[in-house]
């Protein structure tokens, strides 16, 4: 009897071992139209599971719990889904607004904030239970509510975001969720369309659509207010039509330079991070959408708006030259680097594929099937400010 028990225990422990899964090299691929999330392993290039029925995932984004077990997926329809990457299941799911655009996780990992178009504002939830802990309407003018864009987490248990219709940046301190402290910066410029925080959490930058330039907020000195930068750039030039709004998340900071998409011009802007003045521009094949640095910042990868969205261009930061143009397929929507950057995963929507490249040789490694993929998010984001 003792022997049988020991054998049983042994068998059980083997079973437990077989079930063990680490999550540090996992990721989520969003399937836009079907509203699914694929859990993938970035080391083995493998699909592990498909999580279905997550609602409208056009323009979905994902943040990860600091233990990298859970992925929080923000849907366009206001859905917020907490995915358990160990159990391949939906842990919790709520519909928190009518029309939303993105989210962020707090410095301590305990809060999830969602930015909403309708009704405009941010809502803050417990990352554990998804219970509402704070509701901050983006009120401005005479009873109006603005669409909220460019929501990021910042050091000091803060969330920073921009008001598209109002032209404001708000910094909210949620150290005490019952009494959030809100600092508002009005008149930052017309139609901020997205925002980013530098990887060190020092600066918040909002891109402006309604006028040239960017709005810069020094989070170490918020009392010095918002400064406008690059407001002279391109102001007299005829703007080319923009068939897809650029994204600022993943704006590239490489050494002394910030790389950013120009708006209405087929150029990548190279900004000097010390003076915040334009250092150079690099002509590319189309309207840039994502301008992202490889984690070591040696390369900048750029994808494009329709009708140039079958291409990717790679800039060598060493001499600010174009190194190569790749054509992964029809409708290249998003890319994500492995944590140390030896590979990049690329979502090719209309070819229903995710393409993996070696970033050194720029050769294709493999392709994985995914139905209309529009976003790739790796769990290594869990430990990065602003992602």
């Amino acid at each position: 009897m003792k022997k049988t028990l020991a054998l049983l225990a042994l068998l059980l422990s083997f079973n437990a071992l077989a079930d063990l899964r680490a999550t540090g090299d996992l990721g989520i691929v969003i399937e836009r139209e079907d509203g699914n999330a694929l859990i993938i392993n970035t080391t083995e290039h493998k699909r592990l599971a498909k999580i279905e029925k997550l609602g409208d995932l056009s323009h979905a984004s994902v943040v990860f719990s600091r233990d990298q077990r859970y992925a929080y997926i923000f849907g366009r329809d206001g859905g917020l889904s907490k995915i358990d990457m160990l159990k391949d299941s939906i842990d919790k799911r709520i519909i928190q607004a009518g029309n939303s655009i993105g989210g962020a996780i707090s410095q301590d990992g305990k809060l999830i904030a969602v930015s909403n178009y309708t009704p405009g504002g941010i809502k803050v939830f417990s990352s554990d239970t998804l219970e509402l802990v704070a509701d901050i309407p983006s009120s401005y003018g005479d009873g109006l509510r603005s669409k909220v864009v460019g929501l990021v987490d910042a050091p000091g248990q803060r969330f920073v975001f921009s008001l598209f219709d109002a032209g404001e940046i708000w910094v909210t301190d949620l150290t005490n969720t019952k009494t959030p402290v809100i600092k508002k910066f009005p008149n930052i410029g017309k139609q901020p369309y997205d925002g980013l925080i530098t990887p060190d959490g020092h600066f918040y930058i909002a891109g402006l659509f309604g006028e040239p330039g960017l709005a810069l907020l020094d989070l170490w000195n918020v009392d010095s207010g918002v400064k406008r930068i690059l407001s002279d750039y391109g102001k007299d030039d005829e703007k080319l039509p923009v068939y897809k709004m650029p994204h600022l998340e993943g704006w590239a900071i490489a050494g002394n330079y910030v790389f950013a998409p120009a708006i209405g011009q087929h150029k990548v802007l190279v900004i000097d991070k010390n003076t915040w003045e334009l250092h150079d521009t690099i002509t590319v094949v189309g309207q840039p959408v994502f301008v992202m640095a490889r984690p070591d910042a040696r390369q900048i990868w750029v994808n494009f708006a329709f009708p140039d969205n079958h291409q990717l261009q790679i800039i060598d930061v060493k001499d600010l030259s174009l190194r190569k143009t790749l054509t992964p397929g029809k409708a290249v929507l998003h890319m994500e680097f492995t944590p140390r950057g030896e590979q990049v995963w690329v979502a090719v929507r209309d070819d229903n594929q995710v393409v993996v490249y070696d970033t050194e040789t720029l050769q294709e490694i493999t392709r994985l099937p995914a139905k209309q993929p529009n976003g790739i998010f790796f769990s290594s984001r869990a430990h990065k400010i602003g992602l």
């Binding site: 056009s58 366009r76 709004m245 009708p307």
Partner: protein, 102 residues
């Protein structure tokens, strides 16, 4: 006889206005993805306004067709003229008004 030729003329124009099946697929795909990027996959609005029938109800055809083709100054709406004809824009508008984009 005159009536018949008029009828023929009307049917031929209607026929000319209808994009080929292949173009319809392309245009529907564009509506979902490219228009949807700003107006939402369900077209209920995003950074751009809602394109649902009730939102378009009080706006005349020609105004909306010219918005599609020429864009709207002072907004993020770009001109789609390089990628579609007047007839195709009119066909797309019909789809929007009938809410049959899915």
């Amino acid at each position: 006889m005159k009536k018949l030729s008029l009828l023929l003329w009307v049917t031929t124009t209607a026929f000319a206005g209808e994009p080929t099946f292949e173009r319809q697929t392309t245009l529907r795909n564009q509506l979902n993805h490219d228009c949807g990027a700003c107006h939402g996959l369900t077209l209920k609005g995003g950074l751009g306004p809602s394109l649902l029938p009730e939102a378009l109800a009080d706006k005349p055809d020609e105004f909306l067709i010219s918005t599609i083709l020429e864009g709207r100054k002072g907004t993020a709406m770009p001109p789609w003229q390089p990628f579609m004809s007047h007839d195709e824009a009119a066909w797309l508008l019909g789809i929007l008004r009938a809410s049959s984009h899915k």
